[in-house]
């Protein structure tokens, strides 16, 4: 089989995390009773007019900034006219001619090198209502009608499903970190369409493209692109031609299926929205928005690595924004960041997951966490000890020292106390001592087990092993 070069472009719709809708004062919410978040504007009642939610413009400026886009200073909205039951006015207010952001990029790391995925444009528009098909009836829920969206369109510069996946992961991370969207693909707050075509040589014109609509997860984007590439290769190899199609990915089937063949001259009769005057973006607006952008994931990863955090932990931290934000509060301190990351991502994360809590909802202040790190670092607290007092650490406001004393574990790890315990164990188990002398390795494990049992696990294992060996010999 000949090698083909895929050309992929991705369009992503992201719902913005605003209090109210884009063109009305209705609340922007998910999972509420059908049609409870609507008013006459959302329903497209005769005589109603759109207003413009300033929060949307600010979030769009923010998105344009984190996606390295140029920002258009004078813009308008356009009407996209088409009849569909989920489109209450039978036109959608969008930006066709003057998208707020253009010529941007997102960097991904693929096979050890950095690639820029170029963003053609990003624009603001309103979401449609949600339709549910029941037999021959269709139910309409207008709660989603008028929810603010940004649509982010890449250039056809993606050449593999892996790149597509990395791009979407990066995009999601950036938008989530900047508090622009909660980016939940399963709730539809982030939706992706992929345009796929193939050709034999880079010098060839682009092949016929097919669009895969509304893919429900990032992994399915990758899968559907692979399937679509394979399908197009099969057709071309069989000498067949095909038309531009709109397809969808069928999860059960594990393949893309035809929705409709694209008709030429799809005519949306765009024209400038006369109900919304021109919008001017000032330097000040951009500056104000820039000040609200937190440290982004790439920078966080870089700093974590510099502070001695392992690459695995650095990535894990970044994947959990609230932990990462918490971790960032330590960055000005002189502490062991490796231990800090281990603690946060290990037992503390397990606790948080179980309790369904955020780190900020526990009593672990920065000061107490630093104390904890110190105790672990100088071996005055073992990981077993730590596990035993984890609940107290995260639920009480006492200092770590106080908790340790209270639980009666501080004296045991004292050097001489431990030596006395070990001596006694050896005397109490002459058979095992004999085994050890005869070279049976399992004897030393038995003794260690006894030590831990006797100290209720609070002995520092490294230290216990040292003393045990000294005493045995």
């Amino acid at each position: 089989m000949t090698n083909y070069i895929p050309t992929i472009g991705i369009e992503v719709h992201v719902e913005l995390k605003t209090k109210t809708k884009i063109f009305s004062s209705s609340l922007n919410g998910y999972g509420e009773m059908a049609n409870s978040l609507t008013n006459v504007v959302d329903l497209g009642y005769p005589g109603t007019l759109p207003t413009l939610n300033e929060e949307v413009v600010n979030l769009a400026i923010k998105a344009a900034t984190v996606l390295n886009c140029k920002i258009r200073r004078k813009m308008h909205f356009d009407r996209k006219n088409y009849f569909y039951p989920d489109n209450p006015k039978n036109y959608q207010i969008t930006q066709s001619r003057t998208p707020i952001g253009y010529d941007g990029y997102v960097e991904i790391n693929i096979n050890g090198t950095t690639k820029k995925i170029e963003i053609e444009e990003m624009h603001i528009e309103e979401d449609t209502c949600k339709s549910t098909h029941r037999g021959n009836k269709t139910l309409l829920d207008f709660n989603r009608a008028g929810v603010p969206l940004i649509e982010i369109v890449t250039k056809p510069c993606i050449t593999s499903s892996e790149e597509a996946k990395l791009y979407l992961e990066k995009l999601k991370e950036l938008l989530f970190y900047s508090d622009i969207s909660d980016c939940k693909m399963e709730e539809g707050s982030m939706r992706a369409d992929a345009n796929v075509s193939i050709r034999k040589n880079l010098s060839d014109p682009f092949g016929t493209k097919c669009e895969i609509k509304n893919i429900g997860s990032i992994s399915n984007v990758a899968l559907s692109i692979e399937k679509e590439i394979a399908r197009q290769i099969r057709l071309i190899e069989a000498g067949k031609t095909f038309k531009e199609e709109t397809r969808r990915y069928d999860d059960k089937l594990g393949d893309t299926v035809l929705m409709r063949v694209k008709e030429t001259g799809n005519d949306y009769r765009y024209f400038p929205e006369p109900d919304i005057p021109y919008l001017f973006i000032t330097d000040e607006m951009i500056k104000n928005v820039e000040e609200t952008i937190p440290m982004l994931p790439d920078e966080r990863r870089k700093i974590y690595l510099e502070k001695g955090v392992s690459e695995v932990n650095a990535n894990k931290l970044v994947q959990n924004k609230s932990l990462s934000d918490y971790f960032n509060t330590l960055l000005t301190e002189n502490t062991n960041f490796k231990i800090a990351s281990n603690l946060l991502l290990g037992d503390i994360s397990a606790y948080l997951n179980k309790q369904e809590k955020q780190i900020t909802q526990t009593t672990l202040t920065k000061e107490r966490f630093l104390e904890l790190i110190n105790k672990i670092e100088d071996d005055s607290l073992t990981s077993k000890n730590f596990k035993d007092i984890l609940d107290a650490i995260l639920e009480s406001t006492k200092s770590i020292e106080e908790i340790v004393t209270e639980k009666g574990i501080s004296n045991i790890i004292d050097d001489s106390a431990l030596r006395e315990i070990i001596k006694k164990i050896i005397i109490d188990n002459p058979d095992s001592l004999a085994d050890y002398k005869n070279g049976h390795d399992r004897a030393i494990k038995f003794f260690m087990g006894q030590v831990m049992k006797e100290t209720k696990g609070s002995a520092n294992p490294k230290l216990a092993m040292e003393i045990l060996k000294e005493e045995l010999n």
Partner: protein
């Protein structure tokens, strides 16, 4: 039962002194409307609610000059719980669940809404003959049109049913029927009055305005309805002002421009002569009048057709039979619901404009027509604004002819636009314009003078209009009694 021939100032005094009650005015208005039934000025009367409101007002303080004054509302302005049809079968049974901003303002002044007036379907027309509910008639001659699209509002004011009405003006729809019916009609500056709750025809041109028996009362109603509205992004941020404040002030030294096109042979000789008479009178009153060529005026109708129909095709897309309005019974599928509901719900002229508008916005046409029209419109706006650097007003006739017969052919779609050839440029430029009755034709039909002012200079328009009104002192009651 002669109260409603009195001026609003007189009525206000009587109400204030408790010599009359609001219910007397309301009952008289309904009686007059009943007597003038054949004018067909109304689509819906608000009898019960208006009477109820009138009784309630008896216990309230008469706190403003429009308190208790009956008003009629054009039927494309939504009124909560009061049927709003846009004179279309599409909305024959449509009861809005909210009030337009202007209606909120009118209610807050305790004016009493008497009914919803007849009009061209969705305001598309210039004779009100595209109404689904049959056309209104001209009180001066019931064989003739009242004009349009605010024909019902013009007819009911001219017939002296009540003193005030709201109309809407997209391409002359207040001023032209005002001229045909011999009343005063003002289209304010675009943005002066909130459009929230006005069922959109052409969003960038639509404007609500007052219609009245005389200039002063027109200004009073404008006072009540203006203001920035957060619900309408195109409404203008302007301090409220008293539009009557310049009335009776001296006009000596004012400068008026008359575009040659406005007195060219597109205008009937009779009307031209009447306007020239007025010009002479003004010149004798110390006003300078210059005739000049103003570019683009003759393109206005073409531009208007492209812009208005393009926008209309989109604005009327929401009438799909799903959420409100006429819905085809037992549709086979969604397309059948769309086609059926719109085919049955819209009249011929509306369909024609939607089709032409859709065509104009299609594919390459959008660039070739709509965008080009917008750009010429900007030039036209600049050209007209330039005139106001030197002049206080632009004047001319409101219409090229007086009201014609109801039975005249409607087959020529261009004819209806040509009726508005003199008034459309004002909408294109967003300027304020007023039609003032200045005389009658040989067959006793009213002739209107069109006064155009600079942006937001409505008060100045009223100043000139009231000067002329006083000077002419015409009897504008079609029944002849003063």
């Amino acid at each position: 039962m002669k109260y409603l021939d009195k001026s609003i100032i007189e009525l206000h005094q009587l109400l204030k002194e408790k010599k009359i009650k609001p219910i007397e005015l309301v009952e008289e208005a309904f009686e007059r409307i009943e007597n003038n039934k054949e004018l067909n000025a109304y689509i819906t009367l608000n009898k019960e609610e208006a009477k109820k409101q009138a009784y309630e007002l008896e216990n309230k303080e008469v706190d403003n000059i429009l308190f208790g004054i009956p008003i009629a509302i054009k039927d494309n302005i939504v009124t909560k719980d009061l049927r709003t049809t846009c004179a279309s079968r599409m909305l024959e049974n449509f009861i809005p669940i909210y009030d337009a901003t202007v209606i909120e303002k009118i209610k807050s002044q305790n004016m009493i809404i008497i009914g919803k007036t007849n009009m061209d379907e969705f305001a598309m027309g210039s004779s009100s003959r595209t109404s689904y509910f049959n056309p209104p008639k001209n009180p001066w001659n019931k064989e003739k049109i009242a004009g349009g699209s605010s024909g019902g509002s013009a007819a009911t004011i001219a017939a002296r049913d009540l003193p005030l009405a709201l109309g809407t003006d997209t391409g002359g729809s207040i001023r032209q029927p005002a001229s045909y019916c011999g009343i005063v009609g003002m289209k304010p500056t675009y943005g002066r009055v909130s459009r929230f709750g006005l069922v959109a025809f052409a969003s960038s041109l639509d404007q609500i305005g007052p219609m009245s028996r005389n200039v002063y009362e027109n200004a009073l109603l404008l006072n009540a309805i203006v203001g920035k509205d957060e619900k309408d992004l195109t409404s203008a941020l302007k301090e409220s002002e008293d539009f009557t404040r310049l009335i009776n002030q001296d006009i000596t030294g004012m400068k008026i421009a008359v575009p040659n096109y406005f007195l060219s042979d597109i205008v009937s000789e009779e009307i031209r002569n009447k306007i020239k008479e007025i010009i002479n009178m003004l010149e004798n009153s110390g006003v300078t009048v210059d005739y000049l060529d103003v570019k683009y005026l003759e393109n206005a109708v073409t531009l208007y057709q492209i812009i208005a129909m393009g926008e209309a095709s989109s604005n009327l897309a929401r009438f799909d039979g799903i959420r409100y309005g006429h819905s085809k019974e037992n549709p086979e599928n969604i397309d059948d619901l769309y086609y059926g509901s719109r085919q049955e719900g819209f009249g011929k002229e509306v369909k024609r404009r939607i089709m032409v508008g859709s065509y104009l916005l299609s594919g390459k046409n959008a660039k070739q027509y709509y965008n080009k029209a917008l750009s010429i419109r900007d030039d036209m706006k600049k050209e007209l604004t330039k005139v106001f650097e030197k002049y206080d007003f632009i004047i001319g006739p409101t219409t090229t002819t007086t009201a014609y017969n109801l039975t005249d052919s409607m087959d020529d779609p261009l004819k209806s636009f040509m009726d508005d050839v003199l008034v459309i440029p004002v909408n294109m430029a967003g300027l304020p314009g007023l039609s003032l009755p200045v005389g009658f034709s040989s067959d006793n039909m009213p002739i209107g003078l069109h006064i155009i002012g600079n942006n937001f200079e409505e008060a100045k328009i009223y100043q000139l209009a009231s000067f002329i009104e006083k000077k002419l002192n015409l009897n504008l009651n079609p029944r002849g009694d003063q």
